[in-house]
Symmetry: C2
Subunit: 337 residues, 2 copies
DNA sequence: GTCCGGACTGGAAGCGCTTCCAGTCTGGCT
DNA sequence: AGCCAGACTGGAAGCGCTTCCAGTCCGGAC
């Protein structure tokens, strides 16, 4: 732990001098560009290791005009959004892809007023080479901001009421339809739904899938209650639903958290699951394995979502023009149906 | 959407020229440094807004030798660590503090071999102004790496077998003791524990707290099984525990996830909770509210942990020498005890 | 009227790297 | 022997900002 007060780090100039070559040549071997003789290349290489040289990323960024980082911007009402393990998966997926590049991941929570301002600055200052945006409400100013910033941007989930060129989404409509059709195939006819927030695309889409399935099956029953994707919200919504439609025999909840809440309400109300009421969720997070009974759910490949968003962003940065991507979902059947 | 192909952004030189001052003066008003006459300051300010000038963070970073970012490094066996909402809370806490500064948060998952390498590079290249490290195993090479890198570093949770100068931790020993003593106060005497991984400080500490309480109360009963902080691990451990110690009348689980697993095992085994077996957990995440029955647990201020780590890091970066911090825990009593 | 401290000012030297470009040196052909 | 493409080479000009420092200018003290 003998720290020199100023252990000034060697620069490329010093490497070049020590290797007896020009700085240009040294830079070339660093970026292994052509036109460096074998001898010089080796001289530079050994100078680098003798000096323990590490290139200064900031200087490189300034010279190349590339920040060397991309941002994941998470919008939402309050910082608690991150309590949802959903984002952890997205981040993990993004990380695995970024690991293979030399880009870093900067995480921005646009959940407070101050956070919004900082995101705006980030965008305007072009402090990153690209951004991924998640969970934008329909009217989120971030959407147009990102689009206008001139920075490569990919959206996770299509923003409501807003055409964006690049996004990765999960097939929410089809997934919800699968779940509902599954309930129908179990002989249920009075199927209600606990929707997500209807000012989000995902909330809308899952509701649409439910309606499609009901319509296609010719089932006239309709019962819905709005939730907010939290377990607490699921409890409230399920209580309301049960009060208004005591005759329901199945529930499709727009996500697992709400389904978990619904299960608790049904339990308290003495309705047997799945005997009297069947319940299906959406997400396939661990929470769905641990409910009582374990939850039938529509699994969405969240990790993969993060991965694909990142890949798309990389493509965009590389100057390509990738097409939007819709990821498939799969029904996971457990004991609640 | 009329994008000029190269909408070159204005530089400080252009601002200065337009305002009729030197670049130096312009820079001064940017950093609102003294020694700029009121007139010039205003000229610069209006030039800035007319031009829509935004300073280039990279150039500034190069000139000031400050990266303008700090990293949160999360270690662990596999990327799934992020599935734990724990980190979401830490991140949220860190964000709220960083929002007030002009630092960004870069997130590094040192969960794969490749990830480790990249963290190493990050550290060596001094690509950030400081780092926060979390969930390091005892022998994690990252610990010494970070210490040696000469970058301000604060640890979240004291690494096992390793003295580090700056860390924020939760009072795991006391918390575990509180939980165990609570079980004792409920008249339990045959209290078992589901420990966390014993190669982590937190796993050790919570076990120690359990033992302290048992010893202090003069209870000779000892029964423990090792888990890995996951619900699945909790299930396995609880099954083993029950097989080996069928007479237990309470369980202290080292975290909520494992406690949730334990509850399910007990339920399947027909042991009534809390009547026959009382269960207490540790963490206070939402999962503890949603078990059946709701879980008595030791709440740790995770968000606050993230906040305090960040504050400590900022202090460190500012040249101060903060003292380690131990955050208190509180017992949250619910229906499982 | 002279002197001096303090408020301003801007030229210029970096920060550490990339890259254009003009030039040098080969060896292979004719 | 004379030429030329192609492989190297390194000087120098940036990238956009901060900051040292040598000055200039002013009003008040003497």
């Amino acid at each position: 732990m003998t720290d020199d007060p100023t252990p000034r780090r060697p620069t490329l100039d010093e490497v070049a001098e020590r290797a007896g070559v020009s700085r240009t040549a040294a830079s070339r071997v660093l970026n292994n560009a052509p036109n460096v003789s074998r001898a010089k290349r080796e001289a530079v290489l050994s100078a680098i290791s003798e000096l323990g040289y590490v290139p200064n990323p900031t200087a490189r960024a300034l010279a190349t005009q590339q920040a060397g980082a991309v941002a994941l911007i998470i919008s939402g009402e309050d910082p608690a959004v991150l309590a949802d393990p959903f984002y952890g998966q997205v981040i993990a997926g993004a990380s695995t892809v970024l690991e293979e590049t030399d880009l870093h991941l900067v995480l921005c929570l646009a959940t407070s007023a101050r956070g919004q301002v900082r995101v705006r600055q980030l965008l305007r200052a072009r402090a990153v080479d690209g951004v991924m945006l998640m969970s934008l409400r329909g009217d989120d100013p971030l959407t147009s901001l990102a689009l206008a910033a001139g920075v490569p941007a990919v959206f996770g989930g299509k923003p409501l009421h807003c055409e964006v060129p690049y996004y990765v989404d999960v097939d929410n409509v089809l997934g919800a339809r699968q779940a509902t059709e599954h309930l129908i195939s179990r002989g249920r006819t009075r199927i209600a739904t606990l929707t997500g927030p209807l000012d989000t695309e995902v909330g809308q889409a899952r509701r649409r899938g439910y309606l499609e399935a009901m319509t296609l099956a010719g089932l006239p029953y309709r019962a819905e209650e709005g939730g907010d994707f939290t377990e607490r919200g699921g409890v409230a919504a399920m209580e309301a639903l049960l009060a208004r439609h005591p005759d329901l025999d199945a529930v499709f909840a727009a996500n697992d958290n709400m389904a978990a809440g619904a299960l608790r309400v049904l339990h308290r109300a003495g309705r047997a699951v799945p005997a009297e009421v069947a319940v299906a969720g959406f997400d396939g997070l661990t929470v769905s394995e641990n409910t009582e009974p374990p939850l039938t759910t529509v699994h969405q490949p969240i990790r993969n979502l993060g991965r694909e968003m990142t890949r798309m962003l990389l493509a965009l940065i590389a100057g390509e023009r990738p097409s939007p991507l819709i990821l498939p979902t799969t029904l996971v059947q457990r004991d609640s149906t």
